[in-house]
Symmetry: C2
Subunit: 208 residues, 2 copies
Amino acid sequence: MQSRTPASRTGRPRSAAADTAILAATREALVELGWSKLTLSDVATRAGVAKTTLYRRWAGKNELVVDAVAELFDELELPDLGSLAADIEGVVLQFAAILARPEARSGLMAVVAESTRDDALRERIRASIVDRQMRLVLQGRARAQHRGELPPEPDPEQAARTVDLIFDMVAGAVVHRTLVSGKPADGEWVHSFIRVLLLGLVGASRTP
Amino acid sequence: MQSRTPASRTGRPRSAAADTAILAATREALVELGWSKLTLSDVATRAGVAKTTLYRRWAGKNELVVDAVAELFDELELPDLGSLAADIEGVVLQFAAILARPEARSGLMAVVAESTRDDALRERIRASIVDRQMRLVLQGRARAQHRGELPPEPDPEQAARTVDLIFDMVAGAVVHRTLVSGKPADGEWVHSFIRVLLLGLVGASRTP
DNA sequence: AGCTTTCGCTACGAGTCGTAGCGTAATGCC
DNA sequence: GGCATTACGCTACGACTCGTAGCGAAAGCT
């Protein structure tokens, strides 16, 4: 979050209710107005707080939207459905459901675009959104290796590269399908995609 | 392009030099300022034209940037390197080189984000950017089937789904690697990626 | 109590937007 | 050549947003 309240203990504390109201108002404004027409004055009005309160907590529109969108990914969890393919399909369908929501569609791509020119923003996105997804990949891979569905990776550097590759392939394909092609990442599509991905990974691990 | 000059033949024609100057100035402004701080007044000054000229040709910032970025993808071609894997690696490296340029990074994602709320803009992006990439996938697939590297697809509906899937996987992975993960899609990464992709596609086509 | 920080409110200069109006320049048609 | 038509450069405009400053009141802690 944006709060930096580890040391300062004295004085009136910041309203936690205002935080949730502001983030909810931001998502509401994203749905109705989209990224470019969203103004902080409008968000403040919707949340029932003063505009100055927004500027005390967030540096600008970018940081606010990152936090508002990041909360959407809180629900993301790796289910245990018995097989690697089923687990991945489950989590990818969750991911696709989040990306189908208009507040995620219009907000996420916009802040990613901004982050190409702002390293601090890129780091904020990595910490609050991307890392959580990456953790799911690591978790699923470890579970699959324990089950014997994927071979163990002795070289840690090679393992890191493989995890990065899987992550970019999964997240990239779902995002591109949803936001660029504009078609739904439904059950049928996810099933085909995961089949190709797993066959490729297993095949690549057999012939190094 | 934005020109609609099929019927109107009389009157002073639009300066073609102004078009190229404006689009070049737009890319220059994208590099220096990024999407959010780019203003049409600034572009007009850089291009040496009046601001009103910009508004006569483009509806707004979105449409202008789409056209400016689209020109970057003109150079994209499918090389003939003897094998499907080599061909794909070649074109993916071209694609990655374009995405590595700052004017593409900051511009492309921004207009895609805007297009989630603007169907006309989405269609413009599809026609001027996405379709060209899709054609490369079709071309490569046909050539590979002719070589026998990929099995022929009797069902046209199934073939269309497969092409869509390949397109989202390739473009999505490269874009995600470059813009979200922030790491270069260099030769080593592309090689690993294509290997997984092709092994998966061949494997999936064998066990339908 | 006293101290500290946050809150809501108002106001402000600076900057951008998109458009209108004007006189001038460059074409095609007669 | 003259005429209609369209594009161009320029200026100016109201409306809007931005981010900040200053104020008095409120809400905690010691």
